[in-house]
Protein backbone atom coordinates (compact mmCIF):
# COMPACT_ATOMS: atom_id res chain seq x y z
CA UNK A 1 0.00 0.00 0.00
CA UNK A 2 2.59 2.51 1.05
CA UNK A 3 4.65 4.01 -1.74
CA UNK A 4 8.10 2.36 -1.65
CA UNK A 5 9.88 5.28 -3.39
CA UNK A 6 12.40 7.76 -1.96
CA UNK A 7 11.43 11.48 -1.79
CA UNK A 8 11.38 13.31 -5.11
CA UNK A 9 9.77 12.50 -8.44
CA UNK A 10 11.28 9.63 -10.41
CA UNK A 11 11.99 10.05 -14.15
CA UNK A 12 8.80 8.16 -15.08
CA UNK A 13 6.75 10.43 -12.84
CA UNK A 14 8.39 13.43 -14.49
CA UNK A 15 7.38 12.06 -17.90
CA UNK A 16 3.81 11.69 -16.61
CA UNK A 17 3.89 15.30 -15.43
CA UNK A 18 5.27 16.42 -18.78
CA UNK A 19 2.23 14.91 -20.50
CA UNK A 20 0.14 17.68 -18.93
CA UNK A 21 2.00 20.30 -21.00
CA UNK A 22 -0.10 21.97 -23.66
CA UNK A 23 0.88 21.41 -27.29
CA UNK A 24 -0.69 22.63 -30.51
CA UNK A 25 -2.51 20.07 -32.60
CA UNK A 26 -3.73 20.16 -36.21
CA UNK A 27 -6.72 17.81 -36.34
CA UNK A 28 -7.34 15.57 -39.33
CA UNK A 29 -10.79 14.48 -38.20
CA UNK A 30 -13.72 16.14 -36.55
CA UNK A 31 -14.24 15.57 -32.87
CA UNK A 32 -16.87 17.24 -30.75
CA UNK A 33 -15.98 19.01 -27.53
CA UNK A 34 -15.36 16.60 -24.67
CA UNK A 35 -16.42 17.34 -21.12
CA UNK A 36 -13.23 16.36 -19.34
CA UNK A 37 -12.55 16.67 -15.62
CA UNK A 38 -10.10 19.50 -16.22
CA UNK A 39 -12.68 21.41 -18.27
CA UNK A 40 -14.17 21.03 -21.73
CA UNK A 41 -11.82 20.63 -24.70
CA UNK A 42 -12.27 22.73 -27.80
CA UNK A 43 -14.07 20.97 -30.65
CA UNK A 44 -11.70 19.72 -33.33
CA UNK A 45 -12.46 21.01 -36.83
CA UNK A 46 -9.77 20.40 -39.42
CA UNK A 47 -7.66 22.30 -40.24
CA UNK A 48 -8.01 24.67 -37.27
CA UNK A 49 -5.23 24.49 -34.70
CA UNK A 50 -6.19 23.65 -31.15
CA UNK A 51 -4.14 23.58 -27.93
CA UNK A 52 -4.47 20.23 -26.14
CA UNK A 53 -2.62 18.52 -23.30
CA UNK A 54 0.18 16.32 -24.57
CA UNK A 55 -1.35 13.02 -23.39
CA UNK A 56 -4.47 13.70 -25.46
CA UNK A 57 -2.44 14.88 -28.44
CA UNK A 58 -0.43 11.63 -28.33
CA UNK A 59 -3.63 9.59 -28.21
CA UNK A 60 -4.96 11.42 -31.28
CA UNK A 61 -1.62 11.12 -33.05
CA UNK A 62 -1.38 7.39 -32.48
CA UNK A 63 -4.78 6.94 -34.12
CA UNK A 64 -3.76 9.27 -36.95
CA UNK A 65 -6.54 11.66 -36.10
CA UNK A 66 -4.21 14.64 -35.72
CA UNK A 67 -0.72 16.02 -36.26
CA UNK A 68 1.29 17.71 -33.54
CA UNK A 69 2.97 21.02 -34.31
CA UNK A 70 6.41 20.99 -32.70
CA UNK A 71 7.08 23.97 -30.40
CA UNK A 72 9.32 26.63 -31.99
CA UNK A 73 12.20 25.90 -29.63
CA UNK A 74 12.36 22.31 -30.90
CA UNK A 75 13.36 23.40 -34.42
CA UNK A 76 17.01 22.84 -35.42
CA UNK A 77 17.72 26.55 -35.86
CA UNK A 78 16.51 27.43 -32.34
CA UNK A 79 18.29 24.49 -30.73
CA UNK A 80 21.47 25.51 -32.54
CA UNK A 81 21.19 28.98 -31.12
CA UNK A 82 20.51 27.72 -27.60
CA UNK A 83 23.42 25.28 -27.82
CA UNK A 84 25.69 28.12 -28.87
CA UNK A 85 24.45 30.13 -25.87
CA UNK A 86 25.13 27.19 -23.55
CA UNK A 87 28.66 26.59 -24.84
CA UNK A 88 29.89 30.10 -25.63
CA UNK A 89 28.01 32.76 -23.70
CA UNK A 90 27.03 31.24 -20.37
CA UNK A 91 29.59 28.51 -19.96
CA UNK A 92 28.99 27.99 -16.23
CA UNK A 93 25.25 28.36 -15.85
CA UNK A 94 22.25 27.05 -17.77
CA UNK A 95 20.70 29.16 -20.52
CA UNK A 96 17.84 31.26 -19.09
CA UNK A 97 14.34 29.78 -18.80
CA UNK A 98 11.50 31.33 -20.85
CA UNK A 99 10.07 34.50 -19.30
CA UNK A 100 6.89 33.94 -17.30
CA UNK A 101 4.02 34.37 -19.78
CA UNK A 102 1.76 36.00 -17.20
CA UNK A 103 3.27 39.16 -15.73
CA UNK A 104 2.45 40.02 -12.13
CA UNK A 105 0.09 42.98 -12.00
CA UNK A 106 -1.20 45.06 -9.14
CA UNK A 107 -4.37 43.02 -8.91
CA UNK A 108 -3.78 39.50 -7.68
CA UNK A 109 -4.92 37.03 -10.31
CA UNK A 110 -5.18 33.28 -10.72
CA UNK A 111 -2.25 33.20 -13.12
CA UNK A 112 0.21 34.68 -10.62
CA UNK A 113 1.31 31.39 -9.14
CA UNK A 114 0.96 29.03 -12.09
CA UNK A 115 4.06 26.98 -12.84
CA UNK A 116 5.05 24.28 -15.34
CA UNK A 117 3.52 22.05 -16.67
CA UNK A 118 0.55 24.43 -16.80
CA UNK A 119 2.33 27.31 -18.54
CA UNK A 120 1.93 27.45 -22.33
CA UNK A 121 5.66 26.99 -22.97
CA UNK A 122 5.44 24.33 -25.68
CA UNK A 123 2.56 25.44 -27.86
CA UNK A 124 3.15 26.67 -31.41
CA UNK A 125 3.32 30.29 -30.27
CA UNK A 126 5.77 29.81 -27.39
CA UNK A 127 9.07 31.75 -27.50
CA UNK A 128 11.72 30.04 -29.69
CA UNK A 129 14.90 31.01 -27.85
CA UNK A 130 14.44 29.37 -24.47
CA UNK A 131 14.37 25.81 -23.23
CA UNK A 132 11.24 25.32 -21.09
CA UNK A 133 11.25 23.32 -17.87
CA UNK A 134 10.18 20.06 -19.55
CA UNK A 135 12.41 20.43 -22.62
CA UNK A 136 14.19 17.09 -22.55
CA UNK A 137 11.17 14.87 -21.88
CA UNK A 138 8.98 16.76 -24.30
CA UNK A 139 11.61 16.62 -27.03
CA UNK A 140 12.14 12.89 -26.54
CA UNK A 141 8.42 12.12 -26.42
CA UNK A 142 7.72 14.10 -29.59
CA UNK A 143 10.67 12.56 -31.43
CA UNK A 144 9.42 9.16 -30.43
CA UNK A 145 5.74 9.65 -31.23
CA UNK A 146 5.69 12.03 -34.17
CA UNK A 147 9.09 12.34 -35.81
CA UNK A 148 7.19 12.79 -39.10
CA UNK A 149 5.81 16.12 -37.81
CA UNK A 150 9.23 17.48 -36.86
CA UNK A 151 11.45 18.98 -39.54
CA UNK A 152 14.86 17.26 -39.71
CA UNK A 153 14.31 14.90 -36.72
CA UNK A 154 17.79 13.40 -36.85
CA UNK A 155 19.42 16.78 -36.49
CA UNK A 156 17.03 17.62 -33.61
CA UNK A 157 17.94 14.36 -31.93
CA UNK A 158 21.67 15.09 -32.17
CA UNK A 159 21.21 18.64 -30.90
CA UNK A 160 19.14 17.45 -27.95
CA UNK A 161 21.86 14.98 -27.08
CA UNK A 162 24.55 17.68 -27.28
CA UNK A 163 22.51 20.02 -25.11
CA UNK A 164 21.97 17.28 -22.59
CA UNK A 165 25.67 16.58 -22.33
CA UNK A 166 26.68 20.22 -21.97
CA UNK A 167 24.05 20.78 -19.32
CA UNK A 168 24.83 17.59 -17.41
CA UNK A 169 28.42 18.79 -17.03
CA UNK A 170 27.08 22.06 -15.61
CA UNK A 171 24.82 20.20 -13.22
CA UNK A 172 27.77 18.18 -11.93
CA UNK A 173 29.92 21.29 -11.60
CA UNK A 174 27.19 23.00 -9.58
CA UNK A 175 27.82 20.60 -6.69
CA UNK A 176 30.82 22.82 -5.84
CA UNK A 177 28.40 25.54 -4.73
CA UNK A 178 26.82 23.15 -2.28
CA UNK A 179 29.85 23.01 -0.03
CA UNK A 180 29.02 25.87 2.31
CA UNK A 181 25.30 25.08 2.51
CA UNK A 182 22.80 27.92 2.12
CA UNK A 183 20.76 28.38 -1.06
CA UNK A 184 22.25 27.53 -4.44
CA UNK A 185 20.51 28.63 -7.60
CA UNK A 186 19.94 26.32 -10.57
CA UNK A 187 18.21 28.88 -12.76
CA UNK A 188 17.07 27.35 -16.05
CA UNK A 189 17.38 23.71 -14.97
CA UNK A 190 15.05 21.12 -16.52
CA UNK A 191 12.72 18.67 -14.79
CA UNK A 192 14.48 15.54 -15.99
CA UNK A 193 17.84 17.00 -15.00
CA UNK A 194 16.52 17.57 -11.48
CA UNK A 195 15.13 14.04 -11.33
CA UNK A 196 18.42 12.53 -12.49
CA UNK A 197 20.66 14.67 -10.35
CA UNK A 198 18.52 14.69 -7.23
CA UNK A 199 19.91 11.70 -5.43
CA UNK A 200 23.53 12.73 -6.05
CA UNK A 201 23.05 16.41 -5.22
CA UNK A 202 21.02 15.79 -2.08
CA UNK A 203 23.50 13.11 -1.03
CA UNK A 204 26.41 15.54 -1.42
CA UNK A 205 24.51 18.23 0.46
CA UNK A 206 23.54 16.01 3.37
CA UNK A 207 27.02 14.53 3.61
CA UNK A 208 28.69 17.93 3.68
CA UNK A 209 26.16 19.22 6.17
CA UNK A 210 26.90 16.38 8.56
CA UNK A 211 30.67 16.89 8.18
CA UNK A 212 30.33 20.61 8.82
CA UNK A 213 27.70 20.31 11.55
CA UNK A 214 30.06 20.91 14.46
CA UNK A 215 31.63 23.88 12.72
CA UNK A 216 28.22 25.34 12.02
CA UNK A 217 27.06 24.80 15.59
CA UNK A 218 30.25 26.37 16.96
CA UNK A 219 29.83 29.41 14.72
CA UNK A 220 26.22 29.81 15.79
CA UNK A 221 27.19 29.62 19.44
CA UNK A 222 29.97 32.15 18.97
CA UNK A 223 27.67 34.57 17.17
CA UNK A 224 25.09 34.21 19.89
CA UNK A 225 27.68 34.95 22.60
CA UNK A 226 28.97 37.99 20.78
CA UNK A 227 25.48 39.27 20.15
CA UNK A 228 24.45 38.79 23.79
CA UNK A 229 27.66 40.22 25.28
CA UNK A 230 27.95 43.38 23.23
CA UNK A 231 24.26 44.09 23.27
CA UNK A 232 24.27 44.70 19.54
CA UNK A 233 25.40 42.62 16.62
CA UNK A 234 28.15 43.89 14.37
CA UNK A 235 27.44 41.72 11.38
CA UNK A 236 24.41 41.81 9.12
CA UNK A 237 23.50 38.25 9.95
CA UNK A 238 23.09 38.97 13.61
CA UNK A 239 21.00 42.01 12.88
CA UNK A 240 18.65 39.80 10.97
CA UNK A 241 18.53 37.27 13.71
CA UNK A 242 17.41 39.88 16.18
CA UNK A 243 14.46 40.87 14.06
Amino acid sequence: MALPLPPGLTPTEVAFLCEMEMVTVVPRQKLESLDLLAGATQPLRPPHRVPLPLWLALLLKRQRRANILPPPWLLPASLDKILKHETEISTETFSPPPPHPYAVSVLPSATDHISPPFLPSSTADSPPDYLPYHWLELGEILLDACSDDIPDPDRVRTLLRDLREVRMAKMRASTKDLEGGGISSLRGVGAMEVAEGREFMVGVMDGLRKLGASREAARREREEDEGGGAGQGDSEDEDMELE
Binding site: V104, G182, R209
Partner: protein, 237 residues
Protein backbone atom coordinates in the same frame (compact mmCIF):
# COMPACT_ATOMS: atom_id res chain seq x y z
CA UNK B 1 -24.69 17.52 3.62
CA UNK B 2 -22.63 15.03 1.63
CA UNK B 3 -25.48 14.33 -0.74
CA UNK B 4 -26.12 17.98 -1.45
CA UNK B 5 -22.41 18.51 -2.00
CA UNK B 6 -22.31 15.74 -4.54
CA UNK B 7 -25.43 17.01 -6.25
CA UNK B 8 -23.96 20.45 -6.47
CA UNK B 9 -20.84 18.94 -7.97
CA UNK B 10 -22.90 17.11 -10.55
CA UNK B 11 -24.75 20.23 -11.56
CA UNK B 12 -21.51 22.06 -11.75
CA UNK B 13 -19.97 19.49 -14.05
CA UNK B 14 -22.92 19.64 -16.42
CA UNK B 15 -22.21 23.24 -17.25
CA UNK B 16 -18.71 23.65 -18.67
CA UNK B 17 -19.14 27.39 -19.16
CA UNK B 18 -19.57 27.97 -15.46
CA UNK B 19 -15.85 27.21 -15.13
CA UNK B 20 -14.92 30.44 -16.81
CA UNK B 21 -17.13 32.54 -14.63
CA UNK B 22 -14.80 34.06 -12.11
CA UNK B 23 -17.62 35.08 -9.81
CA UNK B 24 -18.18 31.41 -9.21
CA UNK B 25 -16.54 30.58 -5.91
CA UNK B 26 -16.28 26.86 -6.65
CA UNK B 27 -12.90 26.04 -8.16
CA UNK B 28 -12.92 24.88 -11.78
CA UNK B 29 -11.66 21.48 -12.88
CA UNK B 30 -8.50 23.06 -14.23
CA UNK B 31 -7.79 24.83 -10.91
CA UNK B 32 -8.34 21.57 -9.05
CA UNK B 33 -5.99 19.73 -11.39
CA UNK B 34 -3.31 22.34 -10.79
CA UNK B 35 -3.77 22.22 -7.02
CA UNK B 36 -3.79 18.44 -7.05
CA UNK B 37 -0.62 18.26 -9.14
CA UNK B 38 1.15 20.70 -6.85
CA UNK B 39 0.04 18.79 -3.75
CA UNK B 40 1.30 15.58 -5.35
CA UNK B 41 4.74 16.92 -6.23
CA UNK B 42 5.13 18.58 -2.83
CA UNK B 43 4.12 15.44 -0.97
CA UNK B 44 6.44 13.31 -3.10
CA UNK B 45 9.32 15.73 -2.64
CA UNK B 46 9.27 16.32 1.09
CA UNK B 47 10.67 13.82 3.55
CA UNK B 48 8.20 15.09 6.12
CA UNK B 49 4.42 14.64 6.10
CA UNK B 50 2.79 17.84 4.82
CA UNK B 51 -0.57 19.12 6.08
CA UNK B 52 -3.47 17.26 4.45
CA UNK B 53 -4.57 19.22 1.32
CA UNK B 54 -6.86 22.10 2.32
CA UNK B 55 -10.45 22.88 1.33
CA UNK B 56 -11.47 19.26 0.76
CA UNK B 57 -9.37 19.09 -2.38
CA UNK B 58 -9.04 15.31 -2.32
CA UNK B 59 -12.75 14.79 -1.59
CA UNK B 60 -13.75 17.20 -4.32
CA UNK B 61 -11.48 15.50 -6.87
CA UNK B 62 -12.83 12.09 -5.84
CA UNK B 63 -16.38 13.33 -6.31
CA UNK B 64 -15.54 14.65 -9.75
CA UNK B 65 -14.10 11.27 -10.70
CA UNK B 66 -17.15 9.45 -9.36
CA UNK B 67 -19.48 11.66 -11.40
CA UNK B 68 -17.35 11.18 -14.51
CA UNK B 69 -17.37 7.40 -14.13
CA UNK B 70 -21.16 7.45 -13.81
CA UNK B 71 -21.33 9.42 -17.01
CA UNK B 72 -19.10 6.90 -18.75
CA UNK B 73 -21.36 4.09 -17.60
CA UNK B 74 -24.36 5.87 -19.08
CA UNK B 75 -22.54 6.49 -22.34
CA UNK B 76 -21.46 2.87 -22.71
CA UNK B 77 -25.09 2.09 -23.56
CA UNK B 78 -24.94 3.45 -27.09
CA UNK B 79 -21.97 1.80 -28.69
CA UNK B 80 -21.35 3.66 -31.89
CA UNK B 81 -17.66 3.86 -32.82
CA UNK B 82 -17.50 7.62 -32.52
CA UNK B 83 -18.57 7.85 -28.88
CA UNK B 84 -16.34 4.88 -28.32
CA UNK B 85 -13.24 6.97 -28.96
CA UNK B 86 -14.53 9.81 -26.77
CA UNK B 87 -14.98 7.24 -24.03
CA UNK B 88 -11.36 6.16 -24.33
CA UNK B 89 -10.23 9.76 -23.92
CA UNK B 90 -12.48 10.38 -20.93
CA UNK B 91 -11.37 7.18 -19.26
CA UNK B 92 -7.71 7.93 -19.88
CA UNK B 93 -8.15 11.26 -18.14
CA UNK B 94 -9.97 9.66 -15.22
CA UNK B 95 -7.10 7.19 -14.84
CA UNK B 96 -4.61 10.05 -14.76
CA UNK B 97 -6.50 11.80 -11.95
CA UNK B 98 -6.83 8.56 -10.05
CA UNK B 99 -3.11 7.98 -10.36
CA UNK B 100 -2.29 11.38 -8.82
CA UNK B 101 -4.70 10.93 -5.91
CA UNK B 102 -3.45 7.41 -5.23
CA UNK B 103 0.14 8.58 -5.36
CA UNK B 104 -0.50 11.40 -2.85
CA UNK B 105 -2.27 9.10 -0.41
CA UNK B 106 0.27 6.31 -0.74
CA UNK B 107 3.18 8.70 -0.23
CA UNK B 108 1.44 9.92 2.94
CA UNK B 109 0.89 6.40 4.22
CA UNK B 110 4.57 5.60 3.66
CA UNK B 111 5.55 8.61 5.79
CA UNK B 112 3.03 7.76 8.51
CA UNK B 113 4.28 4.16 8.59
CA UNK B 114 7.83 5.33 9.00
CA UNK B 115 7.32 7.73 11.93
CA UNK B 116 3.91 6.79 13.34
CA UNK B 117 4.60 7.77 16.94
CA UNK B 118 6.15 11.05 15.89
CA UNK B 119 3.05 12.24 14.03
CA UNK B 120 0.79 11.10 16.86
CA UNK B 121 2.99 12.64 19.56
CA UNK B 122 1.71 16.24 19.57
CA UNK B 123 -1.72 17.70 18.77
CA UNK B 124 -0.04 20.13 16.40
CA UNK B 125 1.42 17.34 14.30
CA UNK B 126 -1.86 15.44 14.43
CA UNK B 127 -3.62 18.28 12.60
CA UNK B 128 -1.63 17.38 9.50
CA UNK B 129 -3.42 14.05 9.27
CA UNK B 130 -6.93 13.54 8.00
CA UNK B 131 -9.42 11.69 10.18
CA UNK B 132 -8.92 8.42 8.34
CA UNK B 133 -5.18 8.81 8.55
CA UNK B 134 -5.33 9.32 12.31
CA UNK B 135 -7.45 6.20 12.63
CA UNK B 136 -4.98 4.32 10.47
CA UNK B 137 -1.94 5.57 12.40
CA UNK B 138 -3.50 4.76 15.78
CA UNK B 139 -4.45 1.25 14.73
CA UNK B 140 -1.05 0.70 13.12
CA UNK B 141 0.69 1.74 16.32
CA UNK B 142 -1.59 -0.45 18.43
CA UNK B 143 -0.82 -3.50 16.34
CA UNK B 144 2.89 -2.78 16.40
CA UNK B 145 2.92 -2.22 20.14
CA UNK B 146 0.92 -5.38 20.74
CA UNK B 147 3.37 -7.31 18.62
CA UNK B 148 6.39 -5.88 20.43
CA UNK B 149 4.81 -6.63 23.81
CA UNK B 150 4.11 -10.25 23.00
CA UNK B 151 7.42 -10.91 21.28
CA UNK B 152 9.97 -9.19 23.52
CA UNK B 153 8.87 -6.07 25.41
CA UNK B 154 6.73 -8.14 27.77
CA UNK B 155 9.71 -9.88 29.25
CA UNK B 156 11.49 -6.60 30.05
CA UNK B 157 11.27 -4.95 33.47
CA UNK B 158 8.31 -2.55 33.75
CA UNK B 159 10.38 0.64 33.57
CA UNK B 160 12.06 -0.42 30.32
CA UNK B 161 8.87 -1.09 28.43
CA UNK B 162 8.16 2.45 27.25
CA UNK B 163 8.47 3.28 23.57
CA UNK B 164 8.54 7.04 24.14
CA UNK B 165 11.22 7.53 26.77
CA UNK B 166 13.09 10.81 26.86
CA UNK B 167 15.64 9.67 29.45
CA UNK B 168 19.11 11.16 29.01
CA UNK B 169 17.77 14.06 26.97
CA UNK B 170 17.25 11.92 23.88
CA UNK B 171 13.73 11.16 22.74
CA UNK B 172 13.04 7.64 21.56
CA UNK B 173 10.62 8.99 18.98
CA UNK B 174 12.46 9.58 15.75
CA UNK B 175 11.19 12.08 13.21
CA UNK B 176 12.02 12.84 9.58
CA UNK B 177 15.22 14.69 8.71
CA UNK B 178 14.18 18.33 8.48
CA UNK B 179 17.58 19.50 7.31
CA UNK B 180 17.63 17.34 4.18
CA UNK B 181 18.19 18.96 0.81
CA UNK B 182 15.28 19.70 -1.52
CA UNK B 183 14.79 21.30 -4.95
CA UNK B 184 12.27 24.15 -4.82
CA UNK B 185 10.85 26.61 -7.31
CA UNK B 186 9.83 30.13 -6.38
CA UNK B 187 6.26 30.95 -7.37
CA UNK B 188 6.55 34.62 -6.51
CA UNK B 189 5.73 36.51 -3.37
CA UNK B 190 2.14 36.41 -2.17
CA UNK B 191 2.31 40.13 -1.40
CA UNK B 192 0.56 42.29 -3.93
CA UNK B 193 2.82 43.12 -6.84
CA UNK B 194 5.66 41.17 -5.22
CA UNK B 195 8.10 39.37 -7.48
CA UNK B 196 10.76 37.30 -5.75
CA UNK B 197 10.60 35.33 -2.52
CA UNK B 198 13.17 36.11 0.17
CA UNK B 199 14.53 33.03 1.87
CA UNK B 200 16.94 32.85 4.75
CA UNK B 201 19.46 30.12 4.08
CA UNK B 202 21.66 28.68 6.80
CA UNK B 203 25.15 27.61 5.83
CA UNK B 204 28.26 26.25 7.42
CA UNK B 205 30.20 29.51 7.45
CA UNK B 206 27.38 32.01 7.49
CA UNK B 207 23.68 32.60 7.11
CA UNK B 208 22.13 34.97 4.67
CA UNK B 209 18.97 36.05 2.95
CA UNK B 210 18.61 35.41 -0.75
CA UNK B 211 15.86 36.64 -3.03
CA UNK B 212 14.72 33.88 -5.35
CA UNK B 213 13.12 35.23 -8.54
CA UNK B 214 9.76 33.95 -9.74
CA UNK B 215 10.23 30.69 -11.64
CA UNK B 216 13.80 30.12 -10.43
CA UNK B 217 14.74 26.68 -9.13
CA UNK B 218 17.13 26.45 -6.16
CA UNK B 219 18.56 23.78 -3.87
CA UNK B 220 18.01 24.43 -0.18
CA UNK B 221 17.57 22.76 3.17
CA UNK B 222 13.98 21.75 3.80
CA UNK B 223 13.86 23.53 7.18
CA UNK B 224 14.80 26.84 5.50
CA UNK B 225 12.06 26.76 2.88
CA UNK B 226 9.38 24.80 4.73
CA UNK B 227 7.50 27.92 5.78
CA UNK B 228 7.35 29.49 2.31
CA UNK B 229 6.30 26.17 0.77
CA UNK B 230 3.41 25.91 3.23
CA UNK B 231 2.49 29.52 2.43
CA UNK B 232 2.35 28.61 -1.26
CA UNK B 233 5.13 30.98 -2.28
CA UNK B 234 7.36 28.10 -3.32
CA UNK B 235 6.78 24.57 -4.55
CA UNK B 236 8.97 21.50 -4.53
CA UNK B 237 10.09 20.11 -7.88
Amino acid sequence: MDISDILQDLNHDRDPFADDDYNDSRPSGQTDLQALTRAWINERGAAELLPYPKDNLIERATNRIKAQIEKVEEMTGDMDPKTNFSLIIIQTEVERWKFIIRSILRARIAKIDKHTLYYLSTPELQTRLSETEIAYATRHQQLLHGHYLSSFLGSFPQQLQNLNDTAGGISMIGGPDEEGGVFVRSLGSSEIGGEGVVVRGRGRDGDGEVEVARGEVVVARWADVKEVVEKGEMELV
